[in-house]
């Protein structure tokens, strides 16, 4: 009998693990999800709502794929895990035994215990069900308030914008996504978002949500009241682990895992958004709820399960997003608030749709990272430069090599180089207003 690997969660983490296990082994694989039978791209939920795609387009594999590769899919909710008996208890009194278990249950929207957070018309945006709810909640919606200025928040703003719903975003920091972006980048993005008529309220936190059954207004900590029909809670996500209570699996904010992605219990692993590293790599956070890390954990755990134990050791950080029309890519680390030994160079194109920020170490000149807006950059090239610890001069000189914009696009590397040279020579010279 082949070993039975059961995976809870058919998101990118769970599905990547399943695919890689199948490639190198003949184990029996079952993937369980209560959200949708087939794997779909959570990252594309917005495109479904905006009418760019139909649901079938969100599913990266055709239905025959799973049968052909002998990956059993099960639409069910796991209520309880019994590690002693190596058994899952599914809703509807069904039991499922496993030999090895991978928990990849992802995230749920974070709620901070606000008054009124469970009213009708208050919701997060993570699951397919959230999206269906949003479809209902936006019927005849005259105004929406989005709490939290992060990536999901801006996606939600763009979605609502396509339905002509006026949007106000409450942002805790002094500017959009300021806990991640340096000030100039943040302001650059904020200008673009505002140009679409999205109201950005900086340094504003939610105090409470009011309404009888349905939300009618929100109150900010400053005491302002905003009449609103919809409240989008996008202050981040948190691991979806409530069902593990009492299972003996050790958790903190997320499921605690060692470098092999193993929990405190033999044969139980956890990957993706719900996993929390006990010993994160220096410079990395214990929970990184992004697509790419979920995928990489899936790649890693598959080897371990199949007898090639591998530590989870992600390479240089990278990420991407899109703020309405402006694409954003980042490689390495550009600090939101640069520490003493980090220097940053910022360039903006005069049309306000392109910007680049480079960070490097003072003294040594070692290149630390880049934020690129409106210009596509090659992952492979920046990854190499980061690994080789290239100095900033090298990066500036070879910036063109890293360009990934389509053919015939205007190249800006010379302009960027000149602007940076200027900055380096006259660090204090005030820049002309753009």
């Amino acid at each position: 009998m082949q070993e039975h690997v059961v995976i809870i969660g058919n998101g990118i983490a769970g599905i990547t693990a399943a695919r890689h296990i199948r490639r190198i082994s003949e184990k029996k694989i079952t993937v369980i999800s209560s959200e949708n039978k087939y794997f779909f791209s959570r990252t594309a939920l917005m495109y479904f709502y905006m009418g760019h795609m139909k649901w079938e387009h969100l599913e990266p594999y055709e239905d025959w794929f799973w049968e052909k590769n002998r990956i059993d899919l099960k639409l069910a909710y796991v209520e309880k895990i019994d590690p002693e008996a190596k058994t899952l208890f599914l809703a509807g009194n069904e039991k499922l035994p496993y030999d090895q278990l991978i928990i990849a249950t992802g995230s749920i929207p974070r709620k901070l215990g606000w008054e009124g957070q469970d009213l009708q018309g208050v919701q997060g945006l993570v699951s397919k069900q959230d999206l269906e709810l949003l479809e209902k909640n936006t019927k005849n919606c005259r105004h929406a308030t989005i709490v939290g200025g992060g990536l999901i928040g801006v996606e939600l703003a763009e979605m609502l914008h396509t339905r002509n719903i006026p949007v106000t975003m409450l942002i805790r920091e002094d500017s959009f996504w300021r806990n991640v972006l340096p000030q100039k980048d943040s302001e650059f993005v904020a200008r673009h978002i505002s140009s679409h008529g999205i109201g950005l309220r900086n340094m504003t936190e939610l105090e409470s949500i009011s309404g009888k059954n349905k939300v009618t207004s929100v109150t900010t900590k400053k005491g302002d009241q905003i009449e609103t029909d919809l409240v989008g809670l996008t202050v981040g996500v948190q691991p979806n682990i409530a069902f593990l209570k009492g299972s003996g699996i050790e958790t903190d904010v997320g499921i605690l895992v060692d470098p092999y992605l193993k929990t405190n219990i033999e044969s139980i692993y956890s990957i993706g958004d719900c996993a929390q590293q006990r010993e994160p790599k220096p410079g990395r956070r214990p929970i990184e709820a992004v697509w790419y890390t979920a995928r990489m954990m899936g790649e890693t755990v598959a080897q371990t399960i199949c007898g090639n134990p591998f530590k989870y050791n992600p390479g240089n950080w990278f990420n991407s997003a899109k703020f309405f029309e402006i694409e954003y890519q980042t490689y390495g680390n550009v600090s939101a608030t640069p520490p003493e030994n980090e220097q940053q160079l910022h360039w903006e194109h005069r049309d306000g749709k392109k910007a680049v920020t480079l960070a490097f170490e003072k003294g040594s000149g070692r290149f630390l990272g880049i934020n690129s807006f409106g210009i596509r950059m090659k992952h492979e090239v920046f990854d190499r430069w980061l690994t080789e610890q290239r100095p900033i001069e090298h990066v500036l000189k070879h910036l063109e090599e890293a360009n990934f914009d389509p053919e015939f696009f205007k190249r800006h590397h010379k302009e960027i180089l000149h602007s940076f040279k200027d900055d380096l020579m006259n660090p204090s010279k005030p820049k002309p207003q753009i």
């Binding site: 190198i24 697509w291 591998f310 992952h379």
Partner: protein
Amino acid sequence: MAHIEHNMSLTGEAPKRLSLIQKVATGLGWTGIFFLFLSILNVPLPGYFLWLSLGLIAAGVVIFANDQYRGKPAGIKNDGVWFKNMTSRGVFAWGTGILLTLFYIVLYWYPQYLGYNPDGENTGIVALFDPLSNFISGNDASQWFVYGTLYTLAILAFGYKFLLKYRHNKYEKIRTFSVMFFQLGFAFLIPEILIRLNQPYYNPNVVWPLNYDLFAGYKLNEFFSAGTVGMIMLGFGLASIFLITPILTYFYGKRWYCSWVCGCGGLAETAGDPYRHLSDKSRKSWMLERWLIHTILVLVVIMTTAVVYSFLNENPGKYWLTKDAFLIGVAGFLTLLFAGIMIFKRKELAKDAKYGAVGYFVIILAIIALYYSTGYSYGHLLREWYGFFIGAAFSGVIGVGFYPIFGNRVWCRFGCPMAAVLGMQQRLFSRFRITTNGGQCISCGNCSTYCEMGIDVRSYAQKGENIVRSSCVGCGICSAVCPRGVLKLENGPREGRINGDAVLLGNDVDLLDLIQQQKKATRKL
């Protein structure tokens, strides 16, 4: 207050309605078409109605496009595509599809209903176009002149729309100027002007085998009787397929033709652009595509060989080439080509492609042997059948008539023998590929959805593999719609171009090495 309430009532609604201006613009366009329809019914219309109708159609498209895209930030504009009736196979889409289909049926088989009269005065819509035709070529119009004019108008007007829609993307802009230029200049004006100069009708844009009539007996007669000019045309026709095509495809991929020059591609990319997402992405239709398009290529080769053979048969001793030498030449050329591919490119062919190639090769040689031994090839008959089923029914009626149902590249994907030739070259002997950007893909599926050729671009991108597909016309839209900057159309060294063992960047390097080894070993998932 009323104003505000009006706005309020619109909030929360999915972007599926047309704005008032867009509705008016649509009305203008259809009015133009209505006038043309009246002319078909022989309603007496003054001459300026030609310009009025064409003008209304153009104005409708331009006003619509301005309202849709101008004054809005440049960027991807796919909001509501799957909500709007016209672009999601709604009633209007079916209606338009049926109307277009009917038009094609009349155009191909019942031109007399359009008023075409080869033996005397034209009537109807053809007569309406007579003055324009006389002005350009010095002759009365035919149904083909009417069609050519409307076709060119469509590419220009919808080309304008496309230019606005993708104004942030220089690749798309240059490419669209190119198809507009080639349609207007090469496909529309040059052939008409040649007629004015008493030369054979010749459209340098359409290369054999797309132009399946190029070597038909009547065409060859025209070329031979036109002296030097005719010889240049024939020479250019031969060079186009045997010399220019392979060279340009080697350097740039089939896109140089399919989405920069070709008239069918030009219409698909402009008037057809709103329907590109309707192409079927399933593996099943990929299978169908491979069989169908190569079958049609085989048919056109058999048919053309027969036609030329018949021509030589009917004119014995007139040309230096004898009919038997011709057949031996064709068989020899095909054998060389087949052997070359089988020897050098065997590894790059899928199993079914190999079987298919062998099977078709045997069939073609058998048929050529049959011509040789019987001395008769039914060239005219074959040409007629091919013209009916492939040239008219497939490329026109299904290919364009069904834009709003099956998408804009049905003909290019399933039928066009030129695309089959270019596709083989692109897959086996080209520097073109679409590269992917490290580990940045989020599997969102925009690329696959908007690929008009039904290529599941995401299935490559999410594995970090380059996209090297024979059907890719290099329209660049997958790259344009990708929200994460993952795809780039590129020409580059052939080494490592097809990289089925690629892994996604980002993870531990030793692990990635291992995964790559495993992928090489298993070639799956």
